[in-house]
């Protein structure tokens, strides 16, 4: 009876309109499953048996991607409860922690997945380095990877400000103050003052939209953290994966 039902479902117009192939219980449908699915088609249809061994990649890049997805999901969840306004942000976080059902879990997951992503990007990079996987013809994908590393750090750092507590405020104050020491375009940097840069027109002013970290900095970091940087990461991730397929695998994959 179960076989009969399965057959009916697989042959139905609805199922066929979605999947275009039957259950992946034979080799042809297994191949179709991978290359007709937009999410799975970043894989080749077949991989070498040795690629299933964990001791080459340790799944580090995959874990990094998974943490990014997890951060997107928990991040969007948190956005429903968060207002990027200095008068409300801190209260929102307190509500997320103490009032909203599941809020604590989501915020904790978001925070530690973020730490984890920084750590796993680095572990992945170290793995790629130690296996010489960045060498020709894959040099450019390493460069894309470095861009992703920097983006991960900046993403994490922009998110650091959003709770608007003492930790957030001063960590970001330390960080953005560095920008004012940029040579030529920061008011405190070498040749900055000589070139006419003041607290009100230098690179730090541009970054935080004021002379001190305040409402403008919060909204800037919020937009960067929730929209701009995730988009940039997504674009570079697409290039990163595309190049893996195009340039070929380095190891026994």
């Amino acid at each position: 009876m179960l076989e009969n039902m399965k057959g009916k479902i697989v042959r139905s117009q609805v199922f066929r309109s979605i999947f275009r192939h039957g259950f992946p219980d034979n080799d042809m449908n297994r191949a179709y499953t991978v290359f007709s699915n937009v999410f799975l088609h970043i894989h080749p249809v077949k991989v070498r048996r040795s690629a299933l061994r964990m001791r080459y990649t340790f799944c580090l890049g995959g874990i990094t991607l998974f943490l990014f997805i997890m951060l997107s999901v928990t991040g969007i969840w948190l956005m429903f409860y968060y207002t990027p306004y200095t008068g409300l942000a801190y209260n929102n976080i307190q509500d997320i922690q103490f009032v909203i059902f599941g809020g604590n879990l989501m915020r904790d997951l978001h925070r530690f997945a973020a730490h984890g992503m920084v750590l796993f990007v680095w572990l992945h990079m170290t793995r790629v380095f130690l296996t010489g996987a960045y060498k020709a013809p894959r040099e450019f994908n390493w460069v894309v990877g470095v861009v992703l590393l920097v983006n991960t750090l900046v993403l994490s750092w922009t998110g650091y400000l959003l709770p608007w507590d003492q930790l957030a405020y001063w960590a970001v104050t330390v960080g953005t103050k560095m920008a004012s020491y940029t040579p030529f375009i920061g008011q405190n940097g070498p040749w900055g003052a000589q070139l006419g840069f003041l607290p009100t027109n230098d690179i730090m002013f541009m970054l935080i939209g004021g002379t001190v970290v305040g409402q403008n900095a919060l909204i800037r970091f919020y937009v960067l953290h929730c929209v701009v940087l995730p988009l940039v990461v997504t674009v570079f991730l697409a290039v990163h994966f595309w190049r893996i397929r195009k340039d070929g695998f380095s190891g026994p994959l």
């Binding site: 077949k46 995959g62 922690q97 978001h110 130690l130 296996t131 460069v143």
Partner: protein
Amino acid sequence: MENKATREIFPRDARKSYGLVELMKGSNPVVRKEPEDTVYTWPNLIMIELICALLVTAGLIILVQFVHAPLRSLADPSTTPNPMRAPWYFLGLQELLVYFDPWYAGVVLPGMIILGLMVFPYVDTNPKGIGYYTFSERKFAIFNYSFGFALWWVTIVIGTYLRGLDWQWYWPWSNHLEHMNPALVTLVPLHIVFVNLLHVSKDVAKGLCDTIFFAYFAIGMAIPYFFMRKFYDFLGRSRYLVFMFFFLSMMGVGLKIVLRLLFNIKYIVVTPWINV
């Protein structure tokens, strides 16, 4: 059928004049392909990825039962915490502020780290060691990577655990509530050391410091050029210059940390515009 690779995989049977079909162990016929040891991505690889994702999720959910995201009191621009700390992944850079001026530690050096990482594949011309773990075949490359990241992690550990009030050095057993007396350590630029030691004028001492600084890069560039010619020839001129610039700069950071911690040297080079 006549290329070398194919012949190796299909060894020609001495009794046959030719053969087009090969018998292999497998679940399906393969056309126009050499025999290979592959499996279908679905379900073999996909399941591994799924298990990996589930394990990470489970690990994180277990972790957050024990540790929680911190939330301090409301941001207050009038109360500065002491010490103020950047997020842990930037603590290395914050720690470098002890050894360098902010324009270098906070802006130029991070830029150089990023650029240095990016140029690595272009200056590492060693064709060996692709696709497997090896130390013996690429000792120098691994040394460079490890040295750079050892600096990165050691400064993070120092910044996290060994820095206390006023960003002074606190051992884990020191009293973290008591301010250190900053007068205990007097930092001096290198040329003042020379003035005191060699009894020369300030200008002469400064000139000496500038010379030492440039000599570091010049001699550093020259030594492999003259004495390790094979290394130079292997890289070629432009790769060599780029690599040596980043290499000497990285070593310089390590040297400066040692000079500052052991000899209380604040600057090597002092100019009206920048100090290093």
